[in-house]
């Protein structure tokens, strides 16, 4: 594998005990290598995002963490043991949603809770409280099939957290949700983390992962491309640039910046913003001062590569079609 940016395999932030520890795991389905030699540790109480394109092997990795499928080689340790023994301490939302269509919502959640060891006394009240919290009041008596797709997804999420798990694994928890419900789920994930749960979720929504995660793991074609905390990631992918929005004549501003050697390159966008690549030897502070001396500005901000860019960059490099330059000039909100 040839990857331009290769961060460390293990996060340096894992001073806490690992909630999940995967070591040299392989899984093959027929001739397809779904997972190839993945090793990683997810610290307790952390919020870890599994990122990767479709068919990358995220769900296979998650299923192996859940012990729903067994790896061909390697070991998976969950909460210090096997997931088989820890099922009741784990909450799981699979990628493919499933409910008993004819079962009443309250019964379904209650059944899952009972299977996870929640005592029957007070369970109905607890379910009602949670339904209220998820903006689904009064649906306990309705059949699952009577709910909308988004509502069904929230019911499934609730059935994964009703037993207050120590480890919560959510496979694509935001897919199919509108922005309001997406925000509701984000709040729920944050509150579960605040309660003390370790959370792993897979997603394609990079901005959500960036906003939520302590750490991200990027998988492509069954291989781990990235395993780092967001802080580490930002440090590694700091591309030393500014995004400026001059009050007038962006092109004249860009020319002047180059002429004064404040930046080594400047790209003017249609929306009037200018991307600057800092010159060798200049700091962001000196560059900002230089920019403000050239022209009055609406805004000046540090340019950061976001997770979306890093994702595209790493996956593209991994796929052998380096299209890094096309992404480099994209407009970025700091």
């Amino acid at each position: 594998m040839s990857v331009a940016l290769q961060p460390s395999v293990h996060s340096s932030s894992s001073s806490r005990h690992a909630a999940v520890s995967i070591d040299g795991v392989f899984k093959r389905f027929g001739n397809v290598h779904a997972v190839k030699d993945i090793s990683l540790e997810i610290p307790e109480r952390s919020l870890c995002g599994f990122l990767g394109p479709n068919g990358a092997g995220k769900s296979t990795a998650i299923r192996m963490i859940m012990s729903i499928i067994t790896p061909d080689a390697g070991t998976v340790e969950v909460l210090g043991s096997s997931a088989l023994k820890m099922k009741d301490r784990i909450g799981y939302l699979p990628e493919e949603r499933g409910l008993y269509r004819k079962m009443k919502v309250g019964e379904f959640i209650g059944y899952m809770a009972r299977l996870k060891g929640v005592h029957a006394s007070g369970l109905a009240r607890r379910i009602d409280d949670w339904l209220e919290r998820l903006a689904l009041p009064g649906v306990a008596k309705r059949r699952c099939e009577e709910l909308s797709k988004g509502q069904q997804q929230k019911i499934q999420l609730l059935s994964a957290i009703i037993h207050a798990p120590d480890l919560l694994i959510l496979d694509e928890p935001f897919s199919g949700l509108d922005p309001i419900n997406g925000r509701l789920v984000i709040d729920l994930i944050r509150s579960e983390q605040a309660r003390g749960a370790t959370i792993i979720f897979s997603t394609h929504q990079m901005h959500t992962a960036e906003a939520l995660c302590d750490k991200v793991v990027l998988i492509n074609k069954g291989e781990k491309l990235l395993d780092a905390t967001l802080a580490e990631l930002r440090a590694q992918h700091d591309d030393r640039g500014l995004v400026c929005e001059p009050r007038s004549n962006a092109q004249a501003f860009a020319d002047e910046v180059i002429r004064r050697r404040v930046a080594s390159a400047a790209r003017v966008h249609d929306n009037g913003t200018v991307d600057l690549d800092l010159a060798t030897g200049s700091t962001t502070e000196s560059a900002m001062r230089g920019v403000l001396e050239i022209a009055p500005m609406r805004s000046v901000a540090l340019r950061r590569m976001n997770l979306d860019d890093i994702f595209v960059q790493l996956v593209s490099a991994s796929d052998g079609s380096a299209n890094r330059t096309t992404n480099q000039g994209a407009s970025i909100d700091a």
Binding site: R63, M66, I68, I69, L84, K87, D88, I90, Y92, P94, E96, R97, G98, L99, Y100, R101, K102, M103, Y111, M112, A113, R114, L115, K116, G117, V118, H119, S121, G122, L123, R126, Q156, S159, A160, I162, H163, A164
Partner: protein
């Protein structure tokens, strides 16, 4: 934080079993189909006699008989007014069944009920030459109920007269027509016998065909009364009871497993329970469904036999064997259905795998008659040890045989049968744990074998 205590291994199985039972047996569809319908059926059978016992409409009016001999009127009057015994009615129904549906229904009603009908008939003789014209005119103006013309030829035993004239108004009910006809027919018959100088009672005795009192004597010298119904109906009833209860619940197991796979709820369940717990819970749950059906249908059958005072057809030992072979049959069939259900993704795909299972299960039905004809024959003996036919064949044999089945065969069938049942369960479990997570095209038989025997 909820009150959380990890349920035991068996606790999870019990939870799964209860859910499966509750969502199958405690549904409106099941209660209506498997519980209410048999009760309704039984109720209808019990209620029909009561419905039939409704009092018939009264037979009131004047019947005119044109009979030169004058013998028919008093005979017919006596016959019509004398209540018949149930046996007499049944014999008449057997020898002269009414040709129309309504007639047969009325005749059956008469057999089961006492004669409560009000009969107020005035008989009048009319020997005038134009009696028939008078009868017709009186019928037209509603003065009489019916009129009959019995000629001398009709009464002559030497002649073979096949009819007599009966005149009725258009409004007379078929039941009343049959009553009047029967009284007149019987009167003519009696008069002919009297004229021939024969004794009617003697005639009845002479024409009575005696029934054989059959006793079967076994090589061991044990005598048993031959009961045809015992040898044909009871074994069939036992086997079909077993077959229907086991197959219905195993079919539920198949469809719910497929539904859980196609609904994608399987993965949610497997996050909470192991495949073995899931399979065990499902099998236990549907065994309760099956048991409910067995108790319902079997109980109704026994209640029916009890009402008919025929409980001697079902000795207690048969019921013990029924329970034993029911458990064996259920584990065998449900194992096969669970394996098939786990291996496919929808019902359409299941057809190709269920067909061989069904063919195997139909074999005992095909062997029903040959086995009860010769319960200790080679075919029956060999089939008693071929799974999954064992429980079905054995229940046929033990309930059909007038001879004792060799004890070693009974014991071996039980031991071998339960061994096979648990073997099938083991194979089903191996297939189930792989199959439940498989999506896409259904496996080939070769792949199923690999799932079962290769890690």
């Amino acid at each position: 934080m909820p009150d959380r205590r990890s349920p035991s291994y068996l606790g999870k199985i019990a939870l799964i079993a209860w859910r499966e039972f509750r969502h199958t047996a405690l549904t409106k569809g099941f209660i209506f189909g498997a519980v209410a319908m048999p009760i309704l059926g039984f109720g209808v059978i019990a209620v029909i006699p009561a419905m039939l016992s409704q009092k018939s409409p009264p037979l009131v009016g004047t019947i005119v008989v044109a009979d030169p001999s004058g013998k028919i009127l008093p005979r017919a009057k006596t016959i019509l007014e004398t209540p018949r015994t149930k046996m007499e009615k049944a014999e008449e129904f057997a020898t002269h069944p009414p040709t129309d549906t309504s007639g047969r229904f009325d005749a059956m009603s008469e057999i089961v009920n006492e004669d409560l009908q009000q009969i107020e008939v005035v008989w009048r003789s009319d020997d005038s030459p134009n009696a028939i014209e008078t009868i017709k005119s009186e019928l037209a103006n509603g003065a009489i109920l019916a009129g009959a013309s019995i000629t001398a030829e009709t009464l002559d035993p030497a002649l073979d007269a096949t009819s007599f004239g009966l005149y009725i108004p258009s409004s007379l009910s078929p039941k009343h027509v049959r009553q009047i006809s029967r009284a007149l027919q019987k009167a003519v018959e009696d008069e002919r016998i009297a004229r021939s100088g024969l004794d009617r009672a003697m005639l009845a005795r002479l024409s009575n065909q005696p029934d054989p009192a059959t006793t079967r004597v076994s090589p061991a010298g044990i005598e048993a009364k031959e009961r045809t119904e015992l040898r044909l109906l009871v074994p069939g009833a036992f086997m079909f009871l077993l077959w229907i209860c086991v197959f219905t619940s195993a079919n539920y197991l198949l469809t719910t497993t497929i539904e859980e796979k196609s609904n994608k709820v399987m993965e949610v369940l497997l996050a909470a329970a192991s495949p073995m717990q899931l399979l065990a819970g499902k099998i236990v749950g549907y065994s309760m469904v099956s048991a409910v059906m067995l108790v319902m249908y079997g109980g109704l059958g026994i209640a029916g036999l009890s009402v008919a005072s025929m409980m001697d057809l079902v000795p207690l030992s048969h019921l013990v064997y029924l329970v034993l072979y029911f458990v064996m049959a259920y584990f065998m069939v449900s194992s096969m259905m669970a394996a098939v259900g786990s291996a496919v993704s929808d019902l359409r795909e299941a057809q190709s795998l269920v067909t061989p299972v069904m063919l195997v299960l139909i074999v005992p039905i095909m062997l029903w008659m040959p086995i009860i004809e010769n319960p200790n024959g080679t075919l029956a003996t060999v089939a008693s040890f071929v799974p999954p036919a064992i429980p079905f064949v054995m229940i046929l044999r033990v309930t059909a045989s007038t001879d004792q089945i060799p004890l070693w065969q009974t014991l071996l069938s039980i031991v071998w049968g339960f061994g096979c049942a648990f073997g099938m369960l083991w194979i089903a479990a191996r297939i189930f744990r792989v199959g439940v997570l498989m999506q896409g095209k259904p496996p080939t038989p070769r792949e199923l074998v690999r799932w079962a025997f290769v890690r």
